[in-house]
Amino acid sequence: MRALDWSILWQYRDALLSGLLTTLWVSAVGVVTSTAAGVLVGCLGALPLRLARRFAGTYTGFLRNLPMIVKLFFLYFVLGLPAFPAALLALMLHQSAYIADVVSAGIRSVSRGQIDAALSLGLKWQQVFRLILLPQVLRIVMPPLTTQYVAVVKNSSVASLIAIPDLTYETQGINVETFRGFEAATAATALYVVIALAVIGGMSALASRLGTR
């Protein structure tokens, strides 16, 4: 019977901490960039311009159906982008497609009458989005956005495949050096759960502040 050796986690604490910080950094950049791109594409899909709607539809349809790992490998191995830009771009492209869908659904849930009233009052479309739609939409889509942000954290682990030293990468490193994969994987699981709970908690607090709960 093999005894587990949890002291290995203390021995490799620097590697785990470094991996955790890299995961947090990649996830943070992923959340910001995918939200910006997703909101933009979601708004394009709501415009009364056929070309804009078609672009938004193609963007979300294509990117949602392509696995993240395929996007990552294409950017890194085929286009030859450096590792970090490839990982961040792959994460942004992947998640923004889902966020665009979420935002589109949110926009559709706002009464059309509000948009018509705003336009008839002489507001331009960018003012309609900025002053009328997005403040409401972002409150409505907080729960599904929370799910997407947790997905960003989970999907960031794919970056380990191109040697980005995130939490998954460091965990695998501990495993192959010490063969203590169970202990290493347990530590990584616990840390990912903590990050996910922090994201959920943060979004919940934000929702409370915005008065959506």
Binding site: M1, R2, A3, L4, W6, Y76, F77, G80, P82, A83, S160, L161, I162, A163, Y169, Q172, G173, N175, V176, E177, T178, F179, R180, G181, F182, T186, A190, V193, L197
Partner: protein, 299 residues
């Protein structure tokens, strides 16, 4: 939320003491099952790889084919990676990892190893036109590529303590990273490097800078199984089969002292009364095994 956390902690605490062990020797398990499940790698030609038609090829798979016939059982291959090999072994999903794992003391605390059956030499792989002199890559501003779990990484750290590494999952990924200038050099074994050099655009250093023994990996404290595998390898050596397979796949005779400090156990050819199955090989088996289509022996 609180209940979820309590449930999670309770589950983890229940797993704290130990992983389940195996009371029966793997040797008995294999014989009862009638099948040897061998873990092999698919990205380490010519030791272990899959050809374009999906056939399992390489020195390691041929050793597995031979050993399974001597055990009198069928053979199943399970592809493993550096990350999955130990969990698969410890959970009984494979009976042995017959691949290119380098024993070291830290790993030996968790698993056991047989005698060395491959001795690989470490070489430097660089982009075509770049220097192959080791001295040019031991400074701190060079990035060295390798795979995670590669035994040569620790050896390189001895040469160059301040070395920066980029470690990938697969050998092929490192070659692409080298060609894309993500790394300045790639450290790997000479056998694998020779195969990758055929892809063009890269050069391999002529002089090896380290050697790395590889052995079959088995579960810890399963001496009956480990001993049988050691006897099997020693018998293959006495017969000359191991040397022929080495020549078939690596193009050279084994250039290391096989056995315990180069000594084969006296009387290893004697078949024991218990815990030592050693079936005769069917007619034509060796010709097939040493030929180009040894995968046709797979049942």
């Amino acid at each position: 939320m609180r209940r979820t956390l309590v449930a999670l902690c309770g589950t983890l605490a229940a797993l704290l003491p130990a992983l389940p062990g195996h009371a029966e020797s793997t040797l008995q398990t294999v014989l009862k099952r009638g099948q040897l499940i061998a873990g092999i790698t698919a990205d380490s030609p010519p030791s272990g790889y899959v050809d374009a038609e999906g056939h399992i090829m390489g020195y390691c798979s041929d050793v597995a084919r031979y050993l399974s016939r001597r055990l009198g059982v069928t053979l199943q291959f399970v592809q493993v990676t550096a990350s999955s090999r130990v969990p698969l072994l410890q959970t009984g999903r494979i009976d042995a990892e017959i691949a290119v794992t380098t024993p070291n003391k830290v790993r030996n605390e968790v698993v056991d190893f047989t005698l060395t059956y491959i001795m690989d030499n470490g070489v430097l792989v660089v982009r075509q036109g770049d220097s192959t002199d080791l001295k040019n890559y031991t400074n701190a501003d060079k990035v060295i590529g390798a795979t995670q779990g590669n035994g040569f990484v620790d050896r390189w750290k001895l040469l160059s303590p301040q070395a920066k590494f980029k470690l990938f999952q697969d050998e092929g990924d490192v070659v692409v990273a080298l060609k894309n200038k993500e790394v300045d050099a790639y450290i790997t074994g000479s056998f694998l490097a020779a195969r990758f050099a055929k892809s063009g655009g890269i050069e391999v250093s002529k002089t090896p800078w380290a050697s790395s023994p590889d052995a079959i990996m088995v579960r810890e404290d399963d001496s009956k199984w480990r001993k049988w595998l050691d006897w099997g390898l020693e018998r293959m050596w006495v017969e000359g089969t191991l040397q022929k397979l080495y020549l078939k796949w690596y193009g050279i005779e084994p250039d290391f002292p096989f056995g315990d400090a180069g000594v084969i156990q006296p009387r290893v050819a004697e078949i024991g009364k218990t815990d030592d199955p050693w079936h005769d090989l069917p007619a034509g088996f060796m010709d097939k095994l040493l030929g180009a289509k040894s995968y046709e022996l797979d049942q």
